[in-house]
C-alpha cells in the first residue's frame, strides 16, 4: 500500500495507460456489483419487513430509489467529464462522458418503469404529469439527446464538443428533479432519505436500499469501464499502440 500514494495518477489520463488499468478493474467491480446487488435484493425482498400501508408493493423502492439516484448522479458525473473535456481540450474526458451516457439512460429508464409499476397500485395511476415524473422523463430525453447528437456528427472532435455542450446545458435539470417535490406540490412523495434529515424509514429497509445503491455504483463502474475500453479501441484505431483486442489481452497477461 506504500506505493499507492506515489502512483502518478495523470499517467492514466492517456488512453494507452488507461486501457489495461480498466481491464484489470472490471472483474473486481463486476464481482462486487453481483455480490452487493444479490445481497441487497435478498435483504429487500426477504429480510425487510412489510410496510404498514402498502404491504408488499413498496418493495419496488429497493430498485426504484437507487436507480433514480444513479440516473441523476451519473448525469452530473457525465456533465463534469464533458466540462473537463471542453476546458482542458482533453479527448479522454470526452470519451469518459461518452462511456457513461448509456448507463445513465438505462438507470433513468429503470426508475421510470419501476415507478410506473409502483404508481398503479399505490396512487391508482401508471403515470401523472407532476413535476418529479416529468423532469425525470426529461432526463431520459437529455441522455437520448446527448447520445444522438454524438452519433449524428461524423467528425469526432465536433461530436465531442457538441454533445459536451448539450450535456452541460442539461445539467440544470438535475436540481429540478431533486428539489421538485419540495418546490411544488407533486403527487410523488418527498424524500424519505436525505442528507439533512433523519431517514423516514425502518433501519432494515434503509440498509437494503443503501446496499443496492452501492451495488448499482459498482455495476456502473464495471459497465462504464468496459464501454470505455470499446470507445478507446474504436477511436484510437489509428494509434500505434493499438493492437487487436485479442492480442491486447495477451499482452496484458505477459
Amino acid at each position: 500500500m506504500m506505493g499507492f500514494a506515489r502512483i502518478n495518477w495523470f499517467k492514466y489520463s492517456s488512453p494507452q495507460a488507461f486501457y489495461p488499468l480498466a481491464g484489470r478493474l472490471i472483474p473486481w467491480c463486476a464481482a462486487a456489483a453481483m455480490l452487493l446487488i444479490g445481497a441487497g435484493l435478498y435483504l429487500g425482498f426477504f429480510v425487510a419487513p412489510t410496510d404498514f400501508q402498502q404491504g408488499q408493493s413498496y418493495r419496488i423502492i429497493f430498485v426504484h430509489v437507487p436507480a433514480a439516484w444513479m440516473s441523476m448522479f451519473l448525469y452530473v458525473v457525465m456533465a463534469i467529464w464533458a466540462g473537463l473535456g471542453l476546458g482542458l481540450n482533453a479527448r479522454p474526458s470526452f470519451m469518459m462522458a461518452q462511456a457513461i451516457a448509456p448507463t445513465g439512460a438505462l438507470f433513468t429508464f429503470l426508475a421510470l418503469v419501476t415507478g410506473a409499476m409502483w404508481g398503479k397500485p399505490t396512487w391508482g395511476a401508471w403515470w401523472v404529469w407532476d413535476a418529479r415524473l416529468t423532469s425525470e422523463l426529461i432526463l431520459l430525453f437529455l441522455y437520448g439527446g446527448v447520445m444522438l447528437l454524438r452519433t449524428s456528427i461524423d467528425d469526432s472532435r465536433r461530436a465531442d464538443r457538441a454533445s459536451a455542450v448539450f450535456a452541460l446545458v442539461g445539467v440544470v435539470n438535475v436540481p429540478i428533479i431533486y428539489f421538485s417535490v419540495r418546490w411544488w406540490n407533486t403527487l410523488h412523495q418527498g424524500a424519505s432519505v436525505s442528507m439533512t434529515a433523519a431517514p423516514k424509514m425502518a433501519a432494515t429497509m434503509l440498509m437494503a436500499m443503501l446496499v443496492m445503491t452501492l451495488g448499482f455504483w459498482m455495476y456502473s463502474l464495471a459497465v462504464t469501464l468496459a464501454r470505455m475500453r470499446c470507445v478507446i479501441l474504436e477511436r484510437e484505431r489509428q494509434a500505434s499502440w493499438d493492437t487487436p483486442p485479442s492480442q491486447q489481452d495477451a499482452l496484458e497477461v505477459s
Partner: protein
C-alpha cells in the same frame, strides 16, 4: 490568463447564465408546475375557473360516506386550514384512506362541491413495518396523525 483557464471561466459563466434563466422560467411558470391546488387556494379563488383542475390534501377523518349505489362517495379534503367537500363516482385506489393524502381531478360545482372525475391516493415518505406503525398510533391515539408532505405552505 491561460487559454485553458479562460475556457473554464466561459463554461462557468455559461452555467451561471443557464441557472439564472432556469430560475426565471420556473418562477414564471410557477402556477403551472403545481400538480394540485390546496383547499386554501380554492377558498381564496386562486384556482382556474370553468375548467378542470386538481385539488389535493388530506381526507378528513370520518368524512367518507358512500351512497346507496356503492360507487358514489363523498369526502372532505382539508389542508388543516380550509375544507373542500368532494364527490366522486368510481373506484377509489386501494391506499385511499381517511387521514391520508389524496389528489382529485375535476371541477368545482356551483355549490362549492368539487365533482371529481379521478381520485389518486397520495403516499407519504414514511416507510415502516406494521408493528411500528401500531406502536406509533397507540402512542398518539388522541392526536390525529398528520402527514408532513400534505401540509402545503401557501406560497
Amino acid at each position: 490568463m491561460k487559454p485553458r483557464q479562460k475556457r473554464f471561466v466561459l463554461i462557468g459563466l455559461g452555467l451561471v447564465a443557464l441557472a439564472v434563466a432556469a430560475v426565471l422560467v420556473l418562477n414564471a411558470f410557477q402556477s403551472n408546475l403545481v400538480f394540485f391546488f390546496t383547499p386554501t387556494q380554492v377558498a381564496n379563488g386562486e384556482v382556474p375557473q370553468g375548467r378542470s383542475f386538481r385539488i389535493g390534501g388530506m381526507v378528513e377523518q370520518g368524512s367518507l360516506t358512500r351512497e346507496g349505489d356503492g360507487l358514489t362517495v363523498h369526502f372532505i379534503v382539508t389542508d388543516m386550514a380550509k375544507r373542500v367537500p368532494v364527490s366522486f363516482k368510481g373506484i377509489l385506489p386501494d391506499l385511499f384512506k381517511e387521514g391520508k393524502g389524496a389528489v382529485a381531478q375535476g371541477q368545482l360545482g356551483a355549490d362549492g362541491t368539487f365533482i371529481a372525475s379521478e381520485v389518486l391516493a397520495k403516499h407519504d415518505e414514511n416507510y415502516m413495518p406494521p408493528e411500528v406503525a401500531e406502536a406509533l398510533a397507540k402512542a398518539k391515539a388522541k392526536g390525529a396523525q398528520s402527514s408532513s408532505t400534505l401540509v402545503v405552505q401557501p406560497q
